[in-house]
Amino acid sequence: MNVLVKPGSIPPNAPSRKLFSVLDDNGQADPETDPKLELALVRRMYEAMMRNRLLDVRLMKLQRQGRIGFHVGSEGEEAAIIASAAALREQDWIFPCYREIGAALYRNFPLQSYMDNMFGNVNDLAKGRQMPDHVTARQAHFTSITAPIGTQITQAAGFAWAAKIKHQDVVTASYFGDGATSSNDFHAGMNFAGVFQLPTLFLLRNNGWAISIPSEHQSRSRTYADKGLAYGVPGVRVDGNDALAVYAITREAVQRAASGGGPTLIELCTYRAGPHSSSDDPNAYREAMDSEEAQKRDPVKRLRRHLERLQCWSEAEQLAFEERVNAEINVCVEKAEAAAPPSIASMFEEVFEHMPPHLAQQQAQCVDGPRTRKRH
C-alpha cells in the first residue's frame, strides 16, 4: 500500500465547507496539500483519464451513427472517477453507477470487453442482456452496473460488512451522483454504514446535475458533504477536477476504513461537461458554459499541465498516445461490431442457477418458434 498520503485532511464529523484541493488551474501543486505521488502513478492516472476522454468522443460518434444504441459519457468527470479508483487498493471493490467505466478500465478491464458490451454481442460478459455501458467486471473487482439510481450504495455497504465479518482487509466504494443522494438507498446505506462502522466509502460525484435538475435544487443542505452529519459519517469536500486532491482524500479514507475507522462520505465537486447521455439535449435546460470557464474546469487538461510542468509529458507524447489509443479503440470497435448477437437460447439461461421446467419449455417454444423479421 502506497503510504505517501499523510492523513489529517478529513475533518471530524462536523460541518466543513472547505474544499480540499491540490492543483490550481495551471496545474501547480500546493505544497501544503500535495500528496507527492510517484510520477509513474500520476502519469498512469493521466493516461487513463485521457483514454476515457477519447473513448467518450468515439462512442458518442458511434451512437450518432446509429451503430450503438446508447452511451453515457463522463466528460469533465474523469478525475473524480479515475483518481479515486486509483487510490483504492487492488483488493478493494467498486460498486459503480453507470458513469464509472473508466474506473474498471483503470483496473485493466479489457477495452474489448467494454466494446462488446456497447454492441451487446455474443462476447459481451453481460450477454447482451443489458443496455450499453452496463458492464459487469468481476475480474476488476467492479460489480455489475445497474440503472436504478442508488441501489449500489447499500450493496457496497453490505459487501464491506461481509468483509468485516470475515475479517478480510477489503474496503468497498460506492459511486453515485448528487441526484442519488435523494434515493432511499443513500439514506439506508449511510445509516447502516454509520451504525455498524462499515469499511466503505461513499463517493458522491456532485457533477451539478441530475439530468435537468441542478444540484442546488436536489437538496437544501448547505453542502452535500454535510449530509454525513445525519449519520455520524464524516463528510469531506474535494475539488473533483483535481486528480491529486481526489487521490489524496480517497486514499486517506481507504486507510481509515481499512484500519477500523469507519466510513467516509466524499463529495467530489465536479461538472458534467456533456449531456446526461446520448438521449439528452441539455440546451433545453442549461446555458452553454463559456469556453474559457470550461477549459479552466477541465480535469484532464489540468493534470496534463501539471505533468508538463514536471517535464513528465509533452505534446509529442500526447499525440503518440492519442494515436495509439484511437487505434486500439478502432480494433475493438471493428471486432465488436462484427460479432454475432447472443444466441436466442441464451435469453433463458442464468435466470436461476439451474433452469426450471417452465423456462426450459419457454426456451424450446422460442427457439423452435417462428422468427421475427426484425433484426437484433
Binding site: 451487446g120 442482456r129 443496455m131 440503472a147 436504478p148 432511499n184 441530475a210 433545453a284 435469453m347 437484433h376
Partner: protein, 324 residues
C-alpha cells in the same frame, strides 16, 4: 381535429385539464424545464408556472408520498414516474397507502391522482427501461390501471382518469409514443374507464391486447385472415377494474381466447383473464385459452424483439387456437 401522436395527445389532455381545473398539478423528475425525458409535459411549466409543474428531487418515494398528501389536501396531482422500471421505490406508498386510504378510513380520506408511467419495450431499453409492471397494481385492491393504445384514447382516458376519484396508474406505452398520428379532437372529451373496445370483429377467435401490443395483435389478425381465420380483437384499454363482460361476450361467440401482453407470463394479467373466462364461460370454450406474453426472464437488450410477443408469435397462437 388535429393530427397528434400519443405524446402530444397526452400533453394536450394535461394542458386542457390544467386550464380547466386549477387543482391539477404535474410533478416528477425532469417534467418541468426539460418537459420530461419523453417531452410529454413539454411547455407546461412555461404556461402554468413552477408551482403547478414541479421538478422534483430524484425520489419516487417522495414523489408519490407527497402526491398522496397533495391529493388529500384537495389537489389533483399528476405525478410522473420517469420509467415504469423505477416505480418500485414508490410501491409502498401506492400499495399500502394510496390503494387503502378510502377503505381504511371508511371513506373519510381519498387520494385521487393519476400516476403517469411510461412502460414497455420497443426502445432498446434493456432490463431497466422496458418493464410493464401492471400485475403488482392489478393485484392490489384499490388501484385502477389504464393503458391506451392510441392517441385518441390516450387523451380521452387521461381526462377521465384525472376526473376519477380513485388513484389511477396511467401506463403509457413508450413504443407507441411517436409511432403513429391520428385525428384527435381539440378540447374536451373523455373515454370511459373500465370499458374495453372491440376494434376488429371476427368470429373464430377472441384476441385481447392493449398498449403497444394492440398494434401487433391487429397485424396478426390481418395475417391470419389470409388463412381464413377471423380474429375479434379487443383493446382492453383499462386493465383494472377489467371489462370482463366485453371479453366474455366475445368468447361466447368465438369459443376461443388468446391474450397478449408484454409483461412476464407468471401471474400476469393474462393468467387472470384466463381464470376469469374459465369461471364465467367455461362451457363455451372450444379450445384452451392461450397466453402470448413476455417470457419469464428479465427483459433483455439485444434480443428484445425475441422477448416481446410480437405478431410473429401471435399468429401461430391464433391459428392453433382457431384450429384446435
Amino acid at each position: 381535429m388535429t393530427q397528434m401522436n400519443m405524446v402530444s395527445a397526452i400533453n394536450d389532455a394535461l394542458r386542457f385539464e390544467m386550464q380547466n381545473d386549477d387543482r391539477v398539478v404535474v410533478m416528477g423528475e425532469d417534467v418541468g424545464k426539460l418537459g420530461g425525458v419523453f417531452r410529454v409535459t413539454a411547455g407546461l411549466q412555461k404556461e402554468f408556472g413552477e408551482e403547478r409543474v414541479i421538478d422534483t428531487p430524484l425520489s419516487e418515494t417522495g414523489i408519490i408520498g407527497t402526491a398522496i398528501g397533495m391529493a388529500m389536501g384537495g389537489l389533483r396531482p399528476v405525478p410522473e414516474i420517469q420509467f415504469g422500471d423505477f416505480i418500485y421505490p414508490a410501491v409502498d406508498q401506492l400499495i399500502n397507502e394510496a390503494a387503502k386510504y378510502r377503505y381504511r378510513s371508511g371513506g373519510e380520506f381519498t387520494c385521487p391522482m393519476v400516476v403517469r408511467v411510461p412502460v414497455g419495450g420497443g426502445i432498446k431499453g434493456g432490463h431497466y427501461h422496458s418493464q410493464s409492471p401492471e400485475t403488482i397494481f392489478v393485484h392490489t385492491a384499490g388501484l385502477k390501471v389504464v393503458c391506451p393504445s392510441n392517441p385518441y384514447d390516450a387523451k380521452g382516458l387521461m381526462l377521465a382518469s384525472i376526473r376519477d376519484n380513485d388513484p389511477v396508474l396511467f401506463f403509457e406505452p413508450k413504443r407507441v409514443y411517436r409511432a403513429l398520428k391520428m385525428d384527435v379532437p381539440e378540447g374536451e372529451y373523455t373515454v370511459e374507464l373500465s370499458r374495453a373496445k372491440v376494434v376488429r370483429e371476427g368470429e373464430h377467435v377472441t384476441l385481447v391486447a392493449w398498449g403497444a401490443m394492440l398494434l401487433e395483435a391487429i397485424a396478426a389478425a390481418e395475417e391470419v385472415k389470409e388463412q381464413g381465420v377471423e380474429a375479434e380483437v379487443i383493446d382492453l384499454r383499462t386493465l383494472w377494474p377489467m371489462d370482463t363482460e366485453t371479453v366474455v361476450q366475445s368468447v361466447k361467440k368465438t369459443g376461443r381466447l388468446v391474450i397478449v401482453h408484454e409483461a412476464a407470463k407468471a401471474c400476469g394479467l393474462g393468467a387472470e383473464m384466463v381464470a376469469q373466462i374459465c369461471e364465467t364461460a367455461f362451457t363455451h370454450l372450444q379450445a384452451p385459452p392461450r397466453r402470448v406474453t413476455g417470457w419469464d426472464t428479465p427483459f433483455p437488450y439485444t434480443l428484445e424483439n425475441e422477448y416481446l410477443p410480437l405478431a410473429h408469435r401471435i399468429v401461430p397462437a391464433l391459428l392453433e387456437t382457431a384450429r384446435f
